[in-house]
Each structure stands twice: as C-alpha cells, then as structure tokens.
Symmetry: none
DNA sequence: GATGAATGAGCATTCATTCAT
DNA sequence: TATGAATGAATGCTCATTCAT
C-alpha cells in the first residue's frame, strides 16, 4: 500500500499548488483540494491532522525542492563574488524550473499564519551556507556592513519580486533578466 | 434625516486594516470588520456595495495617502540622482509613517483578486512622475538599459521587502536602514 | 399636499404590480418597490403600517377596479342566461383591460398569507349581486343544484385560468376565446 | 462508510410539503425545511445542489405520484366519453389521495420560477395520453373545436380550483363533488 | 411629510472537521 | 485504508422595519 499512499499525497500536494495558483489561496478549501486530487475529504484527514498541517507539509516540500537546487556546483572555497552569483543563479534557476511552486512559496512567505509557526521559517532562512557566505563577505569587507535582512531584500527577494510579476503575466524570467538581476544584486551589495 | 456618519466609514477602514494585520486577510470576514468597527453588518452595506468594493476603497485610500507623500520636495528639474533618491526616501518615509497601512497595501498588491480589477493597479504603477523619471534616466544613460519592472524590484520592492520583515518583527525601518536601502538601490540601478 | 400624496401612493401601487409581474412575488421587497416608485423606503412606511398592509391595499384597489366593471349594463331584471353571460363577459373584459392587475390579483388569491386575513376575501366573494344571481338560478332550477364554489370553478375561475395561461404567454384573451369561455361556462352550469 | 439515509430524503421532501402548506412558500427557507426534517442545513446540501434543485425534485416526485394514478383502468380503446370521465376521475382521486401534495403542486404550477425551467412543465402538460385524447375528441367532433388550453381550464383546472378552495377550508372533495365536477366538465366540453 | 442612516434577524450557501462503515 | 454522510459554525449578503433629522 506504500505506493498508493505516496501517489495520493503527491496528488494532494499538486492539488494545493494548482488551487492556489488557479483560484487564489483565499478560495483554498479542503473540499476543493480533495476533489482536484481525486480523493475524498476524509482521506485527506488520514494523512494530515488538519488543513494547516497539510499546507505546512506542502510548504516544506516545496522549500526543500528549491533549496536542493541552491547549492548546485556551489564551491564554498571559491572566490566570493563567484559564490555569491552562483547562489543567486541557482535560486533563479530553481524558481524558473518550478514557477508554480515558487509562486506558492511566495504566498506562504507573505502569509505566515497559513502554516503553523514552527514549520514556518522566514524567507531569510535559506540555511547555513547562505549565512556562512554572508558572514564571510562581511568579514572580508567584500560586501557592505549592513544587516543580513537588507541583503536578502536586494538578492533573493529582488529576484522573487520580478519572478512574481512575470508569473502574473504568465511568463518566467528570461535568461537575460536573470543575468541582469544578478548584476544589479551584486552592484547593490558589494563594498566599493 | 440622519446625517451621514463619516466616523463610521473611518472606523470601517481602520477595522479592515486592523483585522488584516492581526488575523491575516484570509480571516477577513465582513462580520469581523463590522464588529471591530462597532457597526452592524447591514450598515456596512450602506456604504459599500459589497466586500470587494469596500476593500477596493480602503486600498485606494491607502494608496492615495502614500502617493501623497511621494512627491514631497520633489523637483522634476533637479539632477537625476537626487530625484531618484528623493523619491525613494519619500516612499520609505511614507511606509514608515503608516506602517500598518503599508502592510495592508502589500497584502493587496500580492493578492490582486481581493479588489476589483479596475481599482487595482500593479505595484509598478506609481504614477506618471515615476515613469517619467525612469524614461529620463534611461535616455540619459544614467541607469541601466533594463525593463522598468526590474527597477521596481530593486527600488520600491526592495524597500517594501525590508519594511515587511521589520513590520513582522514589530519594528519599522530605522533612519540608517533607509539610508542604506537608498544607497544600495542607487548602486544597483545606476549605469557605470 | 394632497396631490403629492396621491401620486406617491399611485406610484407605489404601480410599483407593486410591476415588481410582482417582473420579478415574481417572492422577490417582492419593500426596497425594490420603493426604488421603482421613486420614493424612499421610509416614506413608504408613512403611508402603510407595514408591507402586509400595503399589499392588502393594493389588492383591494385592484379588486375594486375589476368589480367596478362587473356590473356594467347588468340588468338584475333581465332573463337569467343573459345576466349570467353578461357577468362573465364583464369579468373577462375587466381582466383583459387590466391584465397585469388581474395577474397580481391571482397571485394574491392563491397566496392568502400575503395580505392580512381581514382584508382578504375568497375569490368567491364577488359581492352580493353574484350571490343573488346564483340563488335566483338555483331557485328557478335554471342551474344545477350544486354548491356555489363549484360554479365559481366553472365560471370566474375557468376564465381566470385561461387568462393566466395567456398572460404567461404574453397574450390576452381574444374576443373568440371569451365567447368560447362563456359558452362553456353556461353549458357547464345550466340545468338541463 | 456511512450509508445513504433514504429516510432523510423522505423527511426533507415531507418538510417542504409541510412548510409550504403551513407557512406559505414565501416563508420557505432552507433552515426551516432542515429543522422540520430534523437534519442539519449542511446535510441538505449533500443531497441537493441548491434550494431550487431540491424544490424541483420534490415537484417531480409529486408529479410522478399524481401522474401514476392518472391512467388507472384507462382504456385508450374505450368510448370517448368514458375515457374523458375516467381521466378526470383519476385526477380527482389523485388529488384527494394526496391533498397536501396536490396543494404544493398548485403552488409550483403557479410559480414557475420556484424550480428550474427544464424541470418545470406547465399544468397543461399532463402527458401524451391526454393530448391524444384531446386530438381524438377533436377529430371525431365529440368535443368543441377549441384550443387545448381552454379545455384544461374546464377540466383539470376546474377540479383543481375547487380542490384548492376545499383544501383551504380544511376539507377534501367529496364523492358527490367529484361526480358533479365531472358532469360539468363534460357538459362544458362536449360538442352538441 | 420626507428621507438617508441604521440594524437585528434572517437568507442561501460553504467551511473545516468528524463519524460510522 | 478509504470514504460517503453528517454537522455546527461561519461565510457574504438582504430583509422589513425604525430612527433622527
């Protein structure tokens, strides 16, 4: 029965993503999700304790998917600028690869009370490697001596911001736009 | 006859803002708004044709409030960099002056279907002067030759992004942070 | 101020008739009536104690209008068959002259709880002359020795019944149909 | 899983009938129906998509019940007058057997917008056998050469009309009245 | 007399969740 | 495991009626 289970969970997760992107998350009812996933509402409650629990798990799964791409070809020993840009490029790649999932993640990020507090982590929380990189850049005076959140705003959030606009227009970031975003992010953050 | 009670409209608007910031907008019910405003639900429907209409009007009022600050001491004839920074400073000032309202505007901006399409304008739409400034900078080759949305991401949206984080932490942008945001925005956008 | 009053009452009465025929009487709200009449809801309550009172008065007015036509050229001394047919012809004339009003009367007749009990009188209650005629016919053995309601069914109600069907089809009774109805009514009622 | 509770549907149908006859159909609210049926409002929406759907199904069920009686001992080859009277007697029997249901059907028939258009058929539409009989009588010159609706008025509708009056008086048609109604209907319709 | 403002109670419908099988 | 049946509480909205001017 293991495979059966997994396929149902998968279907439910995808349904959440579809419904949010299709109807907006304020129309996100368990009935709609279950219907779209082709399972009964009661079945949904076998896998998840409640709606919040389910959304939290979807969120986490999406986050893992994107984080998984984040450190592709990432060399913690390489030169700082290269690492910095590598990270952002990977992030841009990730949200271009999974545009609907990225859109859902943005929804979760700007609506913290959709999921339980403990499951939710700020958009800042891109994990230890990012924090390490930031600290490294700070110590070596390669980036401005500002708070980490301000960097997030000009890096990941700036990319997200454009991606969101493009997603609303039914597009994804172009290769050129990614290059431009990275250039501007670097220009914004680097210490002169 | 009874005279129109302007204070009720004010109370309703404030209630919308409070409820969105306290309970999140997915718990934004007409009943809750009316209760918080101290009026009956039926009364609400005297002033607004429906929920969407009400939210639209709240949105517009907030937008006007912020836009009103935007062109304070703004000199369209002044040097470009100064104008650029003036605009962003004014924007930062505005959202620091009305932090709850700015938070609400962010919610509306990322949830377009909360309000009628005609009332809604993209976060990009900061009005003609901004568009003029962008075009001017482009023509004079003072800023990068990129699409306007990408600039929005590194200017208004970057500021918004940090403001949102601070708001969630129960803070507002500090004077220093505003300075830093403006510096970074300019570094990101300017043509080298 | 007398004329002003009358015109408002007239407008309200007409509005009731229009709304019932247009939207059906289950969508008959005082707000809709007042709007259509061009007066405020509160004004309506100056003229009538409540909705039921108003509808009752409209009903009575319509009834009077139709009853007024009923005894046109009616000769209580004339031969029975002629009187019988005269009455029905007058009735048919009346509901052809005021088709919307007749339609409204039918609604009231089949929904007794729309108006107060005291104002409401059974469709049978066409007044004393009709009762007299019935008694006369009975005594002279010119009509069947049945209960009065059964005659109503084959006379006024039969005419109403066809008129209603025609009204729903957007038509009124034709001259021929009226003749046929009267012939059949007489054939049904007369004693052989 | 829980099994479908047929008794609930039955209770709901009966509740509709009761409420219409006791409170009139303009006070026919879903809440009242559910309460009277002893089920929750939400349960009602498991069985019916909406109020209109429910009323439509009640209507259809009642219609079927009455129609089922209509062709009892009906012999399409028998003499015309006998068939004519048989049909009316069956109809009278039906509405005497189910007086509350017949009353409800009358309400539905005179308020077409209570149910969906497709479910609704005019009171005339008593099915093909009635139409056949009418055509037969017409061709053989056994009945007057009039439109079908006019016959309906002097047959089914006349019976209905008296039945309605009696129902309002808390009675049903007596055996004698049925005989009288049929005699009069035949007298009205037959060709001399 | 006239009316815009105001409301409690009610409307049809949907919600997230649990039950019984 | 799986699900149709069931529901109390909530949803957005409208009602007939009254108030204050």
């Amino acid at each position: 029965m293991r495979t059966k289970d997994e396929s149902k969970i998968e279907a439910l997760h995808q349904a959440v993503i579809d419904v949010i992107n299709h109807d907006g998350y304020q129309n996100l009812s368990v009935a709609k999700i279950a219907k779209k996933a082709g399972v009964s509402v009661a079945t949904l409650y076998i896998y998840y304790s409640d709606k919040k629990d389910m959304l939290g798990k979807v969120y986490l799964k999406i986050k893992d998917l994107i984080d998984a791409k984040l450190f592709n070809e990432f060399d913690p020993q390489g030169p700082f600028e290269q690492q910095f840009k590598r990270l952002l490029r990977n992030y841009a790649d990730a949200i271009c690869t999974y545009p609907e999932k990225a859109a859902v993640m943005r929804v979760f990020n700007s609506n913290p009370n959709l999921v339980a507090e403990d499951v939710y982590s700020q958009s800042m929380d891109l994990g230890k490697p990012v924090a390490d990189l930031y600290r490294h850049g700070l110590e070596e005076k390669l980036i401005r001596q500002y708070e980490p959140e301000i960097f997030i705003s000009f890096t990941f959030n700036a990319i997200d911001s454009l991606a969101q606009i493009r997603f609303m227009q039914g597009k994804t970031l172009t290769k050129d736009e990614v290059d431009q975003l990275i250039e501007m992010a670097w220009a914004a953050c680097k210490q002169n």
